[in-house]
Assembly symmetry: D2
Homo-oligomer: 306 residues x 4
């Protein structure tokens, strides 16, 4: 089994991959970007890819949301939560006074600005393709235009760097949620603690129409755990909605909701049902349990019987 | 075939019965009250009964609504609209000056109060079991404690009375809607211009809970043509709702709505699907047509297929 | 002070009137009907009238609802709850075997049908203008065409009758709610346990439009304690809604709701704010308390200040 | 007057600034980032700043949304729409074959990936702080690690570069919306074609609670033109909502909506009312016009008057 991730080795995405039960047996394949990783899954070159979905500080990861919302269908089959902890990695011997430029991914930079303005107010930010790439570059043979990288400890270790400061993120307890995406075909069984991911395209694309979509969920007692608007790229103000809900497509109330959305949306893209990383079971009011649906269906069949 | 109605002969209910296509072949059986008529249908002594459901001036007919909402199940299989026109019926030779007391059913009295206060301000109202009973009493052999009856022309004719004044109702174009009720078993086919009657009992019986019920209809684009609250007789402020909607239980959107109500109500009583008297076809948005439901179901089945 | 009620003496309405604090000082004036009583208040001949509003078994009292919904404005200023208990009243010496006909108001008859079919299955029902009128007639000097009256004990006492059977209602704990109506001008102060009565006329008169009205209440956390549709008499299926809500027009959330309804209805008729008979205080979520409204208004004023 | 923008000169943000009526008289001050620009406005060093708010392809600009949602209050006082058109800028004499690495901002790179994979499939992406910075770097004196920059024509011109290809964006008609932010104090007058920007924080922070917020807008007939969820940074799944609506805080319906939101949210941050760039007037149903609000208020005052 071959699983792609955002490389080079040492990224948070690799840390997420390593937490998967499948990781021991699988071949971890670094990819240059989220697009490349998901493209290789679509092309059949990889069995799955681990990609970042949302971060507690920076929000949704646009590249992932947009790639899952377009192109040939991929399904999420699992999720992993990874605590985010940054170090300031340097070549051995470097001191704070030596640092004039710091490289990292722009998302990471956004999360350490407070620390930087306090400890390295004069340092210039050099954007990098990934945190691990910044570490790899700094740890490499040649000269480097910067003296420090912001990255996870694991990336520092891999590239012969040492942490000059640890846990330098501005927000404590930052977490990133990663998902495992695969070609449709092996849907995880319902566990009672599941999520389902959807992308909804409205006929009438004004955000106001969102009310009608949300009522479909509310009418069946379904909680949403994430909702993000994304441009459909058609015109300014034209949005689709990327949504995670509590429950599995095999649940009656989720199936009814999907059918209701299918009737009123121009497109409903199903992006998979999968077990929650936090194992928290869905709280279901008896009105919305499977039994209530089965009862109602039997009752209707009796009414309609000639 | 034996069809009951509120007698004696000459009532508006008999007029409604005579408009039924089945009337020619059927045996019309006068009954002492709505309760008696529906009770004899339940007992199998009659095949059906014609009963008043609502009047454009006086509103819902409590006896009919309550009898259909309780006891063993009856289904409405048809409806008839009858224009309501009252005459002031007297024995031949009687003049306005002779009239000191007027008998009629209290509902009829309520509809002619304006005329009475103008033309017979001193006349006393004598309540009768039905308009036709008042006419029969006045037209009978013995002495009578009143000199005029408010009734339809047909009742005057039957009992040897003459109209001293015609069309004396205060509201022009008053109409009463009658329904034909039978034991479950012969549901009329959908025609595209149908109604369905329901009685809804809430778990939480506050009128505020009505909002949740109405949302079930709105979510499927279903119009209501009548909604009335009726006491459940349990305590003051405990209500059920008697409802007519546009559509047939065989319609997908009506079936879905019934299932939705079944999940959230303590009881949903189905009181029949039947063709509308006015033949006005339901206007259905494509989101709520049968095709949209079938499409959504097939789509979901494909998603769920392993 | 002169207060009208549905006479003759001995009606449940008189019992309601006697429970008013004002009763001792006031002059109780029997009236022939609800319409007459309210008409005399409108005309200034009476200061107020006590009329039945709803009964736990028979539902809303159409004559009261319709009279309050039309004509010149009246305001409810108080309410009274009266337990309903019927006796079978006869002349002294009468036995069950002697009874061939029973007189009472049709609403009373509807509430004792079970007892009658068990104990007097052959007795004929004779409709009367009121229960007390039936008792007065039976207790009068002349011959009577019936041998028993269904009425409250008080009516039997007044007219020299004795109870052959007591508490003969089919539903235990039946209650009727009476209201005191007066010309606008002396609104009761808010007590924290109040009701407000409204009549709502929709622009678009389909019952489906009711959803939009109910949302106005739900959005401000307002409970309804009664909701009834009544025909506007314009055409079959044209309804207005008679509503009681928890709260006083002086409450912020009630005022906001009234303004919201005023914007979307063709007419909102205010029929008074008054203390609840059961003294149960309104439960108000902090989001909907007066303080939340005042805070929000001050905040908006600051935003708008140039 | 001093107006900040994301520098260096040659950015789309500078193009937006130049379209402002105030631009001729004002001093345009390049800033290193959105955060720096808005921070200098907050500190009183600048009178206003022009910042990107959303792009039709890439969606909301997180740095702007987050900076406006936190810290001391800023108000938007205007908006500008700028069509986005990229060129591939090179030093004179460079040909496609010479290009091995391309620098630009990551947002720009996301919008030209299609063109790049077709024409320069082997080229490496070098992230830059801005498109204009990439052009400045390439046009500078020293050696450069890349041979082309993706930037607007204006940036190429400023830095002595020539376009090797024009209009290389994957999505035609891409547009970015910029806003002018200033310290509170000079609110633009209502024009009838206005927008208002808000940030809403929920008490209960589940996305499902969004339904209750949207109902506040729907109940007053207010259209939303943008809705985005942003993490509050407290924990994964804790969101606030950044919203643009049609209308001005001086409009009655907008004021009512703001008060309604204030009652149910833990915080409502007002981020300004300002004229729309497209001058499209709001369509207002008469139920929601200023007149309907004023009428309702007068009516309520009369009801409440003692």
């Amino acid at each position: 089994m071959r699983i792609g991730y955002l490389g080079p080795p040492g990224t948070f995405t690799e840390m997420a991959l390593l937490r998967l039960p499948e990781a021991e047996e699988a071949d971890a394949v670094p990819c240059a970007s989220v697009d490349v990783a998901l493209g290789r899954v679509r092309a059949g070159e990889l069995d799955a890819a681990v990609v970042a979905m949302e971060n507690s500080v920076e929000g949704g990861v646009s590249a992932t949301l947009d790639s899952l919302a377009t192109g040939s269908s991929l399904h999420i089959v699992g999720e992993v939560l990874v605590p985010i902890r940054f170090v300031l990695a340097v070549r051995p011997g470097t001191t704070l006074e030596d640092i004039h430029a710091v490289a990292t991914h722009s998302h990471a930079w956004a999360q350490v600005r407070g620390w930087m303005s306090e400890h390295l107010p004069e340092a210039v930010f050099m954007p990098a393709l990934s945190n691990a790439a910044a570490a790899a570059d700094l740890g490499g043979e040649g000269a480097s235009s910067f003296q420090a990288a912001v990255c996870p400890q694991i990336a520092a270790d891999r590239h012969g760097l040492v942490p000059l400061a640890d846990d330098i993120g501005d927000i404590p307890d930052a977490v990133t949620r990663f998902v495992v995406a695969a070609r449709p075909g092996r849907m995880p069984e319902p566990t009672g603690a599941d999520k389902t991911t959807l992308v909804l395209f409205q006929r009438d694309d004004r955000p106001g129409g969102l009310l009608g979509l949300l009522e479909q969920f509310a009418a069946r007692g379904i909680n949403l755990t994430r909702l993000e608007s994304r441009p459909t790229k058609a015109s300014l103000g034209s949005y689709c909605f990327s949504i995670d809900l509590e429950g599995h497509v095999a649940d009656e109330r989720v199936g009814e909701t999907l059918m209701g959305l299918h009737r009123i949306c121009s497109e409903v893209r199903f992006v998979g049902s999968y077990p929650r990383a936090d194992l928290r079971p869905a709280e279901i009011h008896p009105d919305h349990g499977d039994e209530a649906y089965v009862d109602a269906r039997l009752w209707l069949e009796l009414l309609r019987r000639p």
